[in-house]
Subunit: 330 residues, 2 copies
Amino acid sequence: MAANGIGDEFDLIAKYFAPLAAGAPGALGLTDDAAMVDVPAGQRLVAAVDTVVAGIHFLGDDPPGDIARKIIRVNLSDLAAMGARPLGLLLALVLPRDVTGDWMERFAAGLKADIDEFHAPLIGGDTVAGGGPLTLTLTALGTVPANQVLTRAGALAGDAIYVTGTIGDGALGLGVAKGTLKGLDQAHQNYLLGRYRRPRPRLDFGVRLLGHAHAAIDVSDGLIADLGHICTCSGVGARLAAQAVPLSDAAQAALGLGEGKLADLLTGGDDYELLFTAPPEDDTALRAMASDLAVDVTRIGSITDGGGLEVEDGDGSESRIGKGGYRHFR
Amino acid sequence: MAANGIGDEFDLIAKYFAPLAAGAPGALGLTDDAAMVDVPAGQRLVAAVDTVVAGIHFLGDDPPGDIARKIIRVNLSDLAAMGARPLGLLLALVLPRDVTGDWMERFAAGLKADIDEFHAPLIGGDTVAGGGPLTLTLTALGTVPANQVLTRAGALAGDAIYVTGTIGDGALGLGVAKGTLKGLDQAHQNYLLGRYRRPRPRLDFGVRLLGHAHAAIDVSDGLIADLGHICTCSGVGARLAAQAVPLSDAAQAALGLGEGKLADLLTGGDDYELLFTAPPEDDTALRAMASDLAVDVTRIGSITDGGGLEVEDGDGSESRIGKGGYRHFR
C-alpha cells in the first residue's frame, strides 16, 4: 500500500494522522483494530457517512486543506440537522499514486484546523494508495440527548418553515471555482468561494433547535429538493415564498449582473444551512436563540397538510421552480 | 449521481439498501441525515473502518455477494479483536458506471446474508456512481462492557501466545482465486477459496476473551506482522514456534505439493483469526471456552520481555522468517 514519496500506511498514520487523534485517548493512537468511545449516559449515538470523489464532488486541484475541511463540515452539518454534538471522526482515504508529501501536509493541516474548531477528534481511519481518483469517506459520530429526536419526519401542517444564513452561495461559489462565474468584484468572488469550500455546519444552533423544531434537514441537495425531503418524510406539503429566501450581498450582486437566476440558487445545493419547521408560537424563542448565537434565521414559508410543494415566486408563475424541484420527490 | 440502469441514489436506497436497515428503527429507513443508535448503559462504543478497492483488495470479477460479505467480515473481525459485539454498519459505495441491476441484487443479497447472520444491521450509507473503480468503505460500530479493555497493547512477558483456527488459508485462497495455485484437488481448492472470500469473524470467542486475554489482534497483515504489532504496542518481544502454527488439511496439502512455503503462510495475511496473549494459568479456562464454541485454539509461542520477535522454525534457521516479518515493525 505504499504510495510514492509518502511512505507506507504506517508512516502515514504516524506522521499525519496520529497527531489528529491526540485529543481522544480511545483512538489508541490510531494503531489498534478499532477505536473506543464513551457515549455519555442519557445520550444517544448519531452516525453519518459521506463519500466524496475528485472530479465529482470537488475539483482535483482544489486546495488540499479545503478538501479536508469541506468533507468534515458537510458531515458535521448532517449531525447539526439532528441537533447532535460531534463525538469523533473516522476517515477512509483512497490516495492517487502521485500524491506528494506536500499535499498530505496541507491536507492534514486542514483536518487539524476543523478537528480543533469543532471539537471532533479523529478516532479511526484507513488509507489505501493507488486505487483510483482521490476518494474520501468520512464517518461522523455524535450524540443527542436520548429523550430528544429531530429528524426530517416531524413537520406538521401549520408549522413555519425557516432557514439559517443565506441560500445559493454554494452553487455560485462552485461557479467561481470553475471560472464560469465572472464579472463579480474580487471580494464577492472570495466570499462565494469561501462559502463553497468551507461551509459552516450550524452545530450550536442545531442543538438549540431540540425541543423547538418539529423537523430539520441541512441544505445539501438544494433548498427545494431538501424541503421536498421533509415533506415526503413527514407526509405533508409546503408553500415556499421564493422572494423571502435570504440571499447574500454577493448572491444579489450575481443576480443583478444576470449571472444565474433565483431558481438556480434555490435548487443549487451545497449550502449546508439548516432548513427546519417549527410551530409559529415558537417564533419569538427561535429568534432569541438565533440572536444569542449570531445566526440569521429567516421564515420562508409554511407547512401545509398536503398538495405537494408549491413555490410562490412573487410574479404569479407559481409552479415554475416547483416543477424543477419535484424530480426527486414526486 | 445516477448510474446506468440502476436509477439514482434514492432508487438505490429504496430498492437495495433500505430493506437491510429493517432491523434498526434508528436507521430511519436510511432516508435521514444520520442514524441514531442506543449504546446500552454500561457499554462503550467501538468503531472500525475499512476501505477496499477493486483490483487491490479483491478481484473485479469476484462474486458480488462475496465482495459484500468479505468487507463486512473483515470489519467485524476488527470488532472481534477488541471483544466487541456488533451494533450496526455504515456502508459507503463508489460504483463504476457499468454496474448492473443484477450485480446490485447479488451484492445486496450478500450484505443481507451477513447482516442477518452477525446481527449487524445497516444503519447508514452513501452511494456515488461513476467515480472510479468499485470502492467500498464500511464503518462497523460495536459495543464492549465499559469496564473491559482488550487491545494490542496489554501483552506481558510470560504470556502464552495463541491463535484461533488455521493460518495461511487466506493467502492460499487468493492463489486459487487468481489461478496461480493449481494441483490441489477441487475440495481443497473450494475450501481455501471460501476461507479467502468468506473469512469468519471470531465474534463470540472475542467476547469470551475479555477478562482472560491481555492483548489481541485479528490476523490481517499476516501472523508475523500482526504479532509484531502486538509486540510494538505492548513494548514486549515474542518467541514464535513456527511448527506449532496450525494449518488446515488444504494448506498442508499445498505445502506437500511444493505450492508455497510455511514462511509464505505465516506472512500472507487475510486470515482473520484472532491472535492473542494470555497468562499461562488461564490455559485451561481458554481451552474450555474454545471447546464451548467449537473454535480451535492453538498455543504458538510466548511473550518475552524484549529482544524483538524471534521465530523458531524447527530446523535451526531461527531468524529466517523473522527478518521478513520485521519490515513493518522494526
